[in-house]
């Protein structure tokens, strides 16, 4: 049942949306990017199950990311980040290069003969390759759902946020509402299903109903994507961060796991190894409807101003 925290703050979203006491536990994803191998099985498994069309056939030149972003035709998106930073204790091997052997140069034309001290130049900074599979966050306070004027977007009994394809009329309001840029109106390709309506991850709502694991999590070879009860996943995530810290990977941090954050915590949350924006996440997202009551107040005041102004214009004109 709706209550004081319906717009902000920790809450059980399914209960808040009116599901009765015995609704299932909230389901979600814990994506541990520290073990992601960037294989994109999640992208493919998702598209196969959900019949999401393939549309993007251009190489982007951004490491191995050719999927660009989460969008109507990409409900999972694997980010690839090549960085001049060390990965904890990992020996990338790319830092320490040449050992000066003091041997005479015999470089063939075409290769630059090493100058004195070039060994230092070859000694590059350290390196790591981060990969991370992004997905709809299934926010506790979901702006897309709140702004949807048709009730197409709804909260399921699992606490997830799902578009009802038969209802959505493609108003597009959910698109700018999402603080993560997840949901999008499907533009094409021609002949694909659901063109013109909003599309995003459903956390495989149909599979959940059948007691199955969402397609992406089932496929994930290294269990970087873990599916389960959010509460349990949060504990698992905390333990994992601790473990990584002990292993010297001090960069490890969780993103979206805090029920007190700007969106009330997310159903799909992440273990990251750098700042969120490095992966294309907003660093401190806030659900826009948190401010909605205030907005309504301002709009009410503005409306009254207009009414009063008009009245004054006519009344004052009596002179």
């Amino acid at each position: 049942m709706a209550g004081e925290r319906s717009f902000f703050g920790p809450v059980d979203p399914a209960a808040d949306a009116g599901y009765d006491e015995d609704h299932p536990k909230r389901k979600g994803f814990f994506t541990d990017t520290s073990i992601c191998i960037g294989c994109k099985a999640c992208e493919v498994a998702c598209k196969e199950w959900n019949d999401v069309p393939a549309t993007h056939f251009d190489m982007l030149g951004s490491s191995y990311d050719n999927s660009f972003s989460l969008n109507a035709n990409q409900w999972r998106h694997v980010a690839f980040i090549e960085q001049a930073k060390p990965m904890g204790e990992q020996e990338s091997g790319l830092r320490r290069q040449a050992v000066a052997l003091g041997m005479p140069t015999m470089g063939p034309p075409g290769s630059v003969p090493p100058e004195p001290g070039e060994d230092d130049a070859v000694d590059r900074p350290d390196f790591r390759w981060l990969m991370s599979s992004d997905v709809c966050k299934h926010c506790t306070h979901a702006a897309c759902l709140d702004v949807c004027p048709t009730g197409s977007l709804f909260r399921t009994e699992f606490g997830t946020v799902v578009v009802q394809d038969d209802i959505c009329n493609g108003c597009g309001y959910c698109v700018p509402a999402c603080p993560y840029g997840v949901i999008e109106r499907r533009k094409g390709p021609e002949g694909a299903k659901n063109v013109g309506i909003a599309q995003k991850c459903t956390l495989c709502y149909d599979r959940l109903g059948a007691g199955s694991t969402p397609a992406c999590a089932q496929a994930c070879p290294t269990q970087s994507i873990q599916f389960g009860d959010v509460e349990e996943l949060r504990e698992r995530a905390n333990a994992r961060v601790e473990q990584l810290h002990e292993a010297g990977i001090m960069d490890a941090r969780l993103y979206g796991n805090d029920p007190e954050d700007g969106v009330g915590g997310t159903g799909a949350f992440f273990l990251l190894l750098d700042e969120p924006e490095v992966y294309g996440f907003p660093p401190d997202p806030v659900v826009t409807t948190k401010d909605l009551p205030h907005m309504y107040k301002r709009a009410g005041a503005a409306a009254l101003t207009l009414l009063a102004g008009a009245a004054l214009a006519f009344v004052g004109g009596r002179r």
Partner: protein, 192 residues
Amino acid sequence: MGIGDGLSKTFLSWPVVRQLTGPDPLGRGPAARSRHTEELTARTETADRVARSVCPYCAVGCGQRVYVKDEQVVQIEGDPDSPVSRGRLCPKGSASKNLVTSSLRETKVRYRRPYGTEWEDLELDVAMEMIADRVVKARNDSWQDLDDDKTVRRTLGIASLGGATLDNEENYLIKKLFTAMGAIQIENQARI
């Protein structure tokens, strides 16, 4: 009566009414659910049968479950029972349904006649007869009983490449037939 009932049912199922009368005044949850949503079922649940299979790509040998509905493959996913893969699949394995149901698949024999510039259609049985004729002829034309006085009983006129993507039973028959035929340049990816 019937109409009245229908109307009242329709009215009562109007989400606005459900919002006003139920536990979901904001219209976020139960009140907003559509009939289609209520009827949603995973197609793995409605499949007619499930075949236990193995991924056709690399040599890890991940288990697959192939769901069939109305004689069409409707889903292929990892088999959680497999001790090899524990239900997981890589992007290629995950694309298996796309592989077997791809619209680019050839389902008709295609024929290119000598010096031809385009594909032509050919009936399967005709193609088989033509191939059998050509094999017999090529074998006869290139038959070799002796090589430098040594008995060889073979043909060097027929070669084959492939097998690493095929079944053991298929490789067995391929090797058996070609060997009986005297064809020896039978090779596959293991040489490459």
